[in-house]
């Protein structure tokens, strides 16, 4: 088993909590993990990404080579496209549809949508809306994770268990909200 994942978004959108859940699930399975993160200046509203690699064999590079990522999970549609050269030709993009506009020259969202349609395997979800509609407004990122479950190659139950462990100390209500969010994401998979 080997999955190379790029997690991306804008500083402050919480991509690292998705990484934490995947990492927890992978740890439990005794898989090898490497996860390169971005800290420092770009966290102030700039583009951020994390390279997360999980594998049943030892992993060499902390960085994913060009054309090597099995999946890009993005909290923002334009950010998903920023890392396109790293996506394998048969890899998946799982992205939020909601643009985060904090720059004056943000491109026309219709153009971004078209660019995403040109990728072979893509799931675009309005996770913020889905999270609100389902009463889990703070778990939008976990909906995205649920939608990426097949592409990640991690069994659904294992992600659910990982959520229980990661959020345990925050109480049952938060655990349940995140498990519900994961299920909403799973239902949106193709």
């Amino acid at each position: 088993m080997k999955t190379d994942i790029i997690l991306c978004g804008v500083g402050g959108q919480g991509i690292l909590s998705i990484a934490t859940i995947i990492g927890e699930a992978a740890m439990k399975e005794n898989l090898y993990i490497k996860q390169a993160e971005v800290h420092g200046m770009s966290q102030r509203g700039g583009d951020v990404q994390s390279n997360l690699r999980i594998s049943s064999n030892p992993i060499n590079s902390d960085l994913i080579p060009l054309g090597g990522a099995d999946v890009i999970i993005s909290m923002e549609p334009m950010e998903a496209l920023r890392y396109l050269p790293f996506l394998a030709k048969d890899g998946w993009i799982i992205t939020s549809s909601a643009p985060f506009v904090n720059i004056p020259n943000y491109p026309d969202i219709e153009t971004i949508k078209k660019d995403l349609e040109n990728v072979k395997n893509v799931i675009v979800l309005d996770i913020e809306q889905a999270a609100k509609d389902n009463g889990v407004p703070r778990s939008a990122n976990v909906i995205l994770l649920g939608a990426a479950q097949k592409a990640l190659g991690i069994e659904y139950d294992k992600l659910e268990d990982a959520i229980r462990r990661v959020f345990a100390r925050k109480g049952d209500a938060i655990v349940d909200a995140n498990i519900k969010a994961l299920a909403i994401g799973r239902a949106a998979q193709k």
Binding site: K34, G40, R44, G46, S61, I64, P104
Partner: protein
């Protein structure tokens, strides 16, 4: 026990498990998380390991030397440019030597993700004549810590441990010990003849330290972290150091046919390098940072093998490496991939919404419209982003503290108005001495200490001067009439602009302190309060 740790965290845990008695550091990306991890560690609390932030890297390095003098183990952490700040005690710590072990952990930032240059700290260790360790994995980073402290005590030398951004900020599963080694006892073994660097004594020490060099090199040859892995195809050999070793091996999932020399301990193991240059027609050198190994291997005289690397264009001359650069240098094709999407636009970092620095720049720009020749000397911190639109408010940013001293120099040259803008933490780090120079000459400058009560850029660490700035400025001799404190919120704009205008028009040193808590730490504090109330 297995833990998923950042490289920085593995280093911190390794130091604790090696019997650390104190960590001394000033925050700096990508090194900050080491000290933060120790600050949060239950065992550090239990053992009362020193873990408060230092005012700058120089005070940190010197305090660590004091701890070493008393026989205990100390870790000093910094980003690469921090080593410039503490270069004096660092280089001279090789002359004094150590009693308790000292490890100087420097995190280099090739590609300058959060830095103003990409200097390579290995050069510092070379001219200080001390060993360098450069881990290739988080596990090595953890394991090396124990050995670094042992080595420091065995050789009576500080050890430089060098990591780069990707090692510092990448997580992996690390097998850590169940129990930490006990701390050293206080001892009085430090010899005055070593520690008093009067020329007559220092000359003797210099002979000792210089004489140790062949031993250090032999240790590098024998080090378990330096590996010569022979291959079947001798057309090429590859020398890869630190994290570049990972990128190399990524290119050969089934194993590399060429001989590989992994280097993670310096001085460079010349014997192993000679073996490679003798056995192989060509040698490719892959190292993160500047061509440190390559320069030494290449030398001046032609050798048997053709040397390739950053100096010959096979690898890029600047910036960090990655697996694809290695593939290209080795003639391996990259995987098929999508072309870059042309509609994607850059998204540079920006000052947070509601940040007090924003109001400071708004006010400053408003006033400086009246002074077309005004120059604003900036400094290092979030507020450096004031250079970018919409503010475009600063004209320089060089190093910690340079705002005040450059404003003074510009004023000496005849510039008016000369304004310096510096953050609170940067001011105590390296701005106070410059302000004293300015006050002593009553330089015609206006200094703005934009105080957000924290070291914000690196994530909100304690700032050494909090609640002390007025006292510091007065203590340095600043006239109270020209020390002004304002609250940078939009509704105070008339007051702030009036203050700035008035102080620019005063022909002497003024300090204006706009003070309002950082939005990031404010939100964190509110959250903590809410949680505590529950």
């Amino acid at each position: 026990m297995k833990k998923l740790l950042l490289g920085d965290e593995a280093i911190a845990q390794g130091a604790i498990d090696a019997g650390l008695s104190g960590v001394y550091a000033y925050p700096g990306t990508p090194s900050t998380e080491i000290t933060e991890y120790i600050q949060e560690s239950p065992i550090a609390k239990e053992r009362n390991i020193h873990r408060r932030w230092s005012t700058n890297e120089k005070t940190a390095m010197e305090a660590a030397l004091g701890m070493s003098y008393m026989g205990k183990r100390a870790l000093v952490c910094m980003k690469h440019v921090g080593l410039n700040v503490c270069a004096d005690p660092f280089v001279n710590s090789a002359m004094t030597g150590t009693n308790g072990g000292v490890v100087v952990l420097v995190a280099d930032d090739p590609s300058m993700h959060s830095s103003q240059d990409e200097q390579d700290s290995r050069f510092y260790a070379k001219f200080a004549m001390i060993p360098t360790l450069e881990p290739s994995s988080q596990q090595e980073a953890y394991d090396m810590m124990q050995e670094a402290f042992d080595l420091s005590e065995q050789l009576h030398l500080p050890i430089l441990m060098r990591v780069t951004t990707r090692m510092a900020h990448s997580r992996a599963v690390v097998d850590v010990k169940e129990e930490s080694r006990p701390q050293n006892e206080l001892n009085y073994n430090a010899q005055a003849s070593n520690w008093v660097l009067l020329p007559a004594f220092a000359r003797k020490r210099n002979v000792v330290v210089t004489g140790q060099q062949p031993l250090l090199e032999q240790m590098a040859v024998d080090s378990k972290y330096n590996k010569y892995i022979d291959g079947t195809d001798h057309k090429l050999g590859v020398i890869a150091s630190g994290i570049a070793y990972n990128y190399l091996m990524e290119c050969y999932p089934e194993g590399c046919l060429f001989p590989v020399l992994k280097i993670s301990q310096y001085p460079i193991p010349k014997k192993l390098i000679r073996r490679m240059t003798d056995d192989c027609e060509q040698v490719l050198i892959a190292e993160e940072g500047q061509p440190f190994i390559e320069d030494q291997v290449r030398g001046v005289m032609p050798g048997n093998a053709v040397i390739k690397g950053r100096l010959t264009g096979e690898l890029p001359r600047t910036g960090e490496l990655n697996p694809d650069f290695l593939k290209k240098a080795l003639g391996i094709e990259s995987s098929e991939s999508y072309a870059p999407c042309e509609d994607v636009t850059p998204r540079p970092p920006a000052l947070c919404q509601g940040c007090g620095h924003r109001d400071v720049y708004t006010a400053l720009n408003e006033v400086l419209k009246e002074y077309p020749n005004a120059r604003v000397f900036g400094d290092i911190g979030c507020y450096t982003l004031g250079f970018l639109p919409p503010y475009k408010a600063i004209h320089s940013c060089v190093d910690m503290g340079a705002s005040i001293t450059m404003a003074k120099g510009a004023s000496d040259a005849g510039q008016w108005p000369a304004v310096a803008i510096i953050g609170d933490s940067t001011f105590t780090h390296s701005g106070m001495t410059g302000l004293l120079d300015a006050i002593n000459e009553n330089a015609d400058i206006t200094v703005i200490i934009s105080d957000n009560l924290t070291t914000a850029m690196t994530g909100g660490q304690d700032s050494a001067g909090t609640n002390k700035f007025e006292a510091i400025c007065k203590g340095l001799g600043l006239s109270e009439d020209h020390l002004k404190v304002v609250n940078p919120i939009p509704k105070n704009m008339p007051e702030i602009t009036a203050t700035i205008r008035e102080e620019i028009n005063y022909h002497g040193v003024s300090v204006i302190i706009p003070r309002r808590e950082c939005m990031q730490t404010l939100q964190r504090h509110l959250k903590q309060k809410k949680a505590a109330a529950k």
